[in-house]
Amino acid sequence: MLLNIDGHDAYCYAGGKLFDATLPTVVFIHGAQNDHSVWVLQTRYFAHHGFGVLAVDLPGHGRSKGAALTSVEAMAGWLLRVLDAAGVQSASLIGHSMGSLIALETQAKAPARVAKLALVGTSYPMKVSDTLLNAALNDEQSAIDMVNIWSHTSIAQKPSFPGPGFYAMGGGQRLMQHISRHSDEKVFHIDFSACNAYANGEAAALAVTCPTLFLLGKRDMMTPPKATATLTKAIPTAQVVQLEHCGHALMAEQPDAVLDNLYRFMTR
């Protein structure tokens, strides 16, 4: 569905159903240079199992218009305006990579509006190497290839994503290229710069009061599990789950395990 946020179309995928704000709402937030479609399996399941689903396309990504936002704080503010526009007072937030920082910051800004927090493939600080930042600015295809290769642990994901017969690594590459084609900006560089600059993660985590899940890929090279220590220490009550045979593209490499952990967490 399309909402109007700050004068621009803001697209939210609702999991294949009409969004119903009277149901418990789960918001899915994608990472850098991605869009809602990375969550297609999990969002469809939640939407058909008692939840209202909003899988956003961040501004400048996919179907959402407007300039890409340049800081995690600005993205969190935008997300709260999405909740307002959708008529949602309180929601659980699930974020992947950059999306996990947005979820964390949203909780810090408006703790009363966040019921649960699931941080998927996260780290803090989420530092991006100069090599990757420069590539994102000057040679975007090279940055896409680096991230795509580092995000996958295998060329044989089973049962593959979004289903049998799809080549997950090819899909990852094309999605990032698709985001590039749809924007005149250097979205990848903007996203990476926002991750790199975000400095409120530890403070935000120390203030978390809602149930929290860390869902990590054991072989994640982009946000390795050890780089999550600052956040997991700051939220000692959080549940931490590490998935086997899984890199940074958790939803593509282990879609069922991601879904099962998220659904258990959201329904307990």
């Binding site: 479609s37 469809r44 399941y45 290839d145 044989a156 289903g163 049998p164 090819g170 899909g171 094309r174």
Partner: protein, 436 residues
């Protein structure tokens, strides 16, 4: 500093899509000869049917053996998804009817395999899909043939029978100017010789029966989605492709372009086309084709090397009127072939023997290594004489119109010792001229 690199072609040919079997540890891809797959519980069943989980339900829709082949060809082509079909014809049909229906129009090269020509000119026409055929070398003709109801441009990477090299970059540019996809039949080239997505094509299909299988043992087709074409943008600009961008009643109102930003075509092709037309590949055939794909690079190198020597021999032979192979300077697409096909122009080509139908018959009947049959892309060398087989009722003047003569031969050069092949052809050519 150099960055990380993707696995190379040979590695993908052996490993993409396949992991050791988690239950048995089997290293080779098992043949899952099962019609259906047991659900864990009712919720699992419902979630598989409703695309909330990835997995197998029924082998007409997906099968683990087929999935390995599908993911492997997608990786080798540089695409996002593959679909294994009962034959190459089924792959072509699935590709076209996923986006075209009654009232649609296709622009196609006129230099096509006879089966493809029949499907477009006669069979799809019966279902309301019209095709305009154009000279594949005439770029203006491609552009001029596009209508408001055109859904796709289509050609073969190497056309039939003259091996016209499809100018994929230019024809793709014309297609994309009109927010249309370009689909190509890449059977003769395979991803080893040409990766059409790198040059602008959006959809590829193969008769996997040929070089991908490589041993003449299985019929099958593969449809590959490059994930390059922006169906949603085309829909917004032209109103075309509502099949992918509007709610589909046949799948609970699913809007495929919302489910996947890059592969809505493959979602619909599988969830509608495989489900309803049902032209799926047997897992047994998928296994046979996988064995071929594992050695594709090795075989294609030898196919091309042998072909080059055979072509050289034929060009110099007194009984040969002409040879049509794009690596020859005399071929009209020689320059384009150098650009698009630097590794070689395949192993199927035609040449003309001096003389009439009778000379052609004498040639074919004198051969002992080349098998006279209607197939190409086997490890074994093959030959067919169109004027005495597929076109035996066609008068000489109509043969010329179709780009042939009474002495036209089509060879598919195999992997035998090339000196033996040349000896065999020499015997045939000598016999062809007896009584001439």
């Amino acid at each position: 500093m150099s960055g990380p690199t993707y696995p190379g072609f040979d590695t993908l040919a052996l490993h993409a899509g396949a992991a050791p079997d988690p239950t048995t540890g089997a290293r080779a891809t098992p043949i899952y000869l099962t019609s259906a797959f047991v659900f864990k519980d009712s919720d699992h069943a419902a979630s598989l049917f409703n695309m909330e989980r990835a997995g197998h339900v029924y082998s007409r829709i997906s099968n683990p053996t087929n999935a390995v082949l599908e993911e492997r060809i997608a990786a080798l082509e540089g695409g996002v998804a593959g679909i294994a079909t009962a034959s190459g014809q089924a792959a072509m049909h699935l590709g076209l009817v996923t986006i075209a229906g009654a009232g649609s129009h296709i622009v196609a090269s006129r230099a096509l395999y006879g089966g493809s020509q029949n499907l477009l000119a006669y069979t799809l026409k019966r279902f309301g899909i019209e095709t305009t055929f154009v000279d594949p070398r005439d770029l203006d003709a491609w552009r001029a043939a596009i209508r408001p109801n055109t859904k796709v441009l289509f050609g073969e990477t190497l056309g039939n029978p003259g091996l016209d090299v499809l100018n994929i970059p230019q024809i793709a540019a014309i297609a994309h100017e009109h927010y249309l996809p370009l689909m190509v039949d890449s059977t003769f080239t395979t991803p080893y010789l040409l990766r059409p997505f790198e040059h602008g094509a959006d959809l590829v299909f193969h008769s996997a029966t040929k070089f991908l299988c490589g041993h003449g043992t299985a019929i099958g087709g593969l449809l590959v989605d490059g994930g390059t074409f922006d169906w949603q943008q085309a829909y917004e600009k032209t109103g075309r492709f509502g099949e992918l961008c509007e709610p589909y009643d046949g799948f609970h109102g699913m809007v495929f372009s919302e489910e996947s930003s890059v592969a809505p075509f493959s979602l619909r092709a599988r969830r509608e086309g495989l489900r309803d037309f049902g032209a799926v590949m047997s897992p047994h055939n998928a296994f046979a084709i996988l064995q071929g794909v594992e050695t594709l690079a090795l075989r294609m190198e030898k196919h091309v090397a042998n072909t080059r020597k055979v072509v050289e021999f034929l060009v110099a032979h007194a009984a040969v009127e002409s040879v049509s192979y794009p690596e020859l300077a005399s071929h009209p697409d020689h320059a384009l072939a150098k650009t698009l096909l630097p590794k070689g122009c395949g192993a199927v080509f035609s040449f003309n023997i001096k003389g009439t139908r009778a000379a052609g018959r004498r040639f074919v009947e004198a051969l002992s290594i080349f098998s006279h049959l209607a197939n190409v892309g086997d490890a074994k060398s093959l030959v067919i004489h169109p004027a005495s087989t597929t076109h035996f009722r066609v008068p000489p003047e109509q043969l010329v119109a179709a780009g042939m003569t009474e002495g036209t031969m089509r060879l598919s050069v195999g992997l035998e010792d090339v000196d033996d092949l040349i000896d065999d052809l020499g015997r045939g050519l000598k016999a062809s001229q007896k009584g001439a």
